[in-house]
Symmetry: C2
Subunit: 456 residues, 2 copies
């Protein structure tokens, strides 16, 4: 018997709208606060950083927001992305569960990040912006924004955390291939960068510093804006095309998920696969169990506090209510660089507080083991971040085996690992430690959270 | 107006047969000769190296050979591969030509190589083989055979040229992820390897030596066979699924190519895209111009002799009639490692002699420039090998612009460059030299070709 492996949508079947979960939430998101006044901010406060269309999306409660045709035209370079039935993984696990995965590694950048890089570049271009600044750690986001910039003829300047800049020159080479400029951060191009270098000329950098540098340059110039790859509401919304496509494709397979699994760092790929299903249930549809999988070394959802905090270490960004480990918390240097963030997207945090999702944490050793099992069964070598979702899905499938249930499991394979083979190499060499954060440092970071009166 | 970007086939539309060009050739291939006796060899002479099914495919003149269902079942993990219309590249070039490209980088290994690795593993498994040996340079082929081995539960042992083994540890990490063993060649695991190391303990290795090591181990053990990633007739035939799918997809686009372009190293991805179109014309269908693009630093088709020669430097393999630079010729170390072979597939060489294809050569600088133009327009960063096909297609498109012709150009984008960013980095740093071979060395290698009486 021929088993269908992939469920493909034609370009004409690609969703024409993103899904905005803010329309269906039983309780609105807590306000965003100004870092200076601690008072709720309005759209104008964000105007130096983002074009107004994106700010309006950030606060919109419309359920559907139309994907502009020029964005859809570029999405077609890799979208609709395939949905796979993991026949071989099911067999390898001996599970009665049906496992489906949405594969976002088919994008030119190799991950889900272009889903938001393209519309962000589009709206900026439309607003007359000439240049975008951003930060990147391992390089997935910087690559994707560079790709988007090349298509909309926007100058892109990426501040890459210096330790990654030095260790991972290949990602930088991809950004340069797309015509972007990539600088190690801290740099001497910004006041903040120079101040950090003055204190410590060999500073290895951090995402917090890189954000501050990118923001500093963006606010200085009228023709320059800033772009962020996760966390914000509009970013998460752009990613919902993942789940919306998956819904169509599951119907082709005559299936509907009992469980939806995604990995969480800032929260965007997770929201992309999960929010359409959460919304479906909120509107009275069948409820799926939603599982967020995070790294044990940076466990914002499972060990963080739900509180107001800054998005960056330098305290230049607005405050949002989210699950946070404290903005001064430095996660240990594990390999899923995309998941090394002290906070969590406010929308994902809010859903967690509303009981709409579960969260679990696994060590990187557990996740690489799962990733290798997956690669040997299904062929695709997942990115270290995606291995967290793989691990979550495998655990659900093994539970189904124990319980004798043939549940349907859907997970998001958010990217391939072809840029991350050094991490696999360490795993095979037995050199991959399960990095632990310092409990004392976490307690200190949490006790240092800003004291904010609950806004009216 | 919405422009269609991708032409997708459903799994049910995937070809069920490979195309064997030997059925349509106006003149049969010259015989293969025994390296010792110089007499034509029969199937039994190859039995120590390959399972009989593959040997029969090697000599078959049947037009269609059925793709076994277990092979098709695995092909479905990434096939049918998409055909793209390069709207953005056309616009960037300002050409009236219509450019289509078939993208083989969607395979888990990132290239076309699994198209033959999977059936080779299948036929070996069917014949009771437990272990496959092979050689690899940069690692594309070793990766693909490792992937195939993981799916058919075959042990895979890859001899990787030592200089690549040391310089490109990431490819090795992928092979290990698939459960294969990868050794640097020359190794101390074979008699031949030990003899090389005895003469020069720090020998950097070569494909010729790695082939000899893999062959030596394969003939020693009943349960072990050898697998080759290009050059042989059956390998080229497995790749024809590329062109067969492209034919279906072009018909969806209501198009047919005036020109078909592929890059040539051993000849397999080129044959994969081109042979179905050559056969179509040989059977009386519309004729497309067929263009093989090779590196100027290793120009077997444009500068080599059409003569009998050995496939390896150690002269352990049979002799075939092909375009060769001489088996003792060492190509300079340019970046398209997959195109660094002294010879050319006998079938591709034969078609060249029959006037069925044209060949051109470009320097690596020209090809990287083309690859960057492509990436900035279409998003995908091509492998250095694939850049040769991109360059060939761009040259055809610019000719169409000069001549005011809106011809249809099809080329094969055989793989992505995510493992090759070090080469792009050198290109951007201005450190990429256009490596020249030594004219004297070429003359010497050509004058040293074996003297073989034309067989009856």
């Amino acid at each position: 018997m021929t088993l269908q492996t992939k469920y493909l949508l034609d370009e004409s079947q690609m969703p024409k709208f993103w899904y905005n979960i803010q329309a269906d939430l039983p309780k609105a998101l807590p306000a965003v606060l100004h870092p200076g006044t601690l008072q709720p901010i309005g759209p104008d406060d964000l105007a130096p950083l983002f074009p107004m269309e994106l700010i309006m999306q950030e606060v919109s409660t419309e359920r559907e927001i139309e994907i502009p045709e020029p964005v859809r035209d570029i999405y077609r370079l890799w979208r609709p992305a395939p949905l796979y039935r993991a026949h071989r993984l099911e067999k390898a696990l001996g599970t009665p569960a049906k496992i489906f995965y949405k594969y976002e590694g088919v994008s030119p950048a190799g991950s889900h990040k272009p889903n938001t890089a393209i519309p962000q570049a589009f709206y900026n271009k439309q607003a007359g912006v000439k240049r975008l600044t951003t930060e990147t750690g391992a390089g997935q986001w910087g690559t994707s924004l560079s790709f988007a910039g090349s298509l909309f003829d926007l100058e892109v300047l990426v501040f890459q955390v210096r330790v990654s800049y030095d260790q991972k020159p290949y990602r930088r080479a991809v950004m340069e291939t797309y015509g972007a400029r990539c600088l190690p951060s801290p740099s001497n191009q910004t006041e903040y960068g120079r101040s950090v270098l003055a204190q410590r000329p060999d500073h290895p950098g951090s995402l917090g510093i890189a954000i501050s540098e990118a923001v500093e340059l963006a606010v200085q110039r009228e023709d320059t804006k800033y772009a962020l790859g996760s966390v914000l509401n509009h970013v998460l919304m752009h990613q919902t095309i993942i789940g919306l496509e998956a819904m169509e494709q599951l119907q082709m397979a005559d299936a509907w998920p009992d469980v939806v699994v995604g990995c969480t760092g800032g929260g965007s790929n997770f929201a992309g696969i999960a929010f359409p299903f959460i919304g479906h249930a909120l509107r009275g549809g069948k409820k799926s169990r939603i599982v967020a999988v995070e790294p044990a070394a940076c466990p914002s959802l499972t060990r963080g506090k739900y509180a107001y905090d800054f998005g960056d270490t330098g305290h230049m960004t607005p405050l949002t209510k989210m699950h946070t480990l404290g903005s001064t918390f430095t996660p240990p240097g594990f390999h899923a660089g995309g998941l090394r963030y002290h906070g969590m997207a406010p929308l994902v945090s809010h859903c967690k507080e509303l009981g709409l999702l579960d969260a679990v944490a696994y060590t990187q050793g557990q996740c690489f083991e799962a990733g290798v099992t997956f690669a040997r069964a299904e062929g695709i070598v997942p990115a270290p971040e995606a291995n967290h979702a793989v691990k979550g899905a495998i655990e659900e499938a093994l539970r189904c085996k124990r319980e004798g249930k043939s549940e349907t499991i859907l997970f998001n394979l958010c990217g391939h690992g072809h840029f991350d083979m050094a991490a696999y190499q360490k795993y095979f060499a037995g050199e991959l430690k399960d990095e632990q954060y310092d409990e004392k440092e976490l307690a200190m970071a949490l006790s240092g959270l800003p004291s904010v009166p609950e806004p009216a």
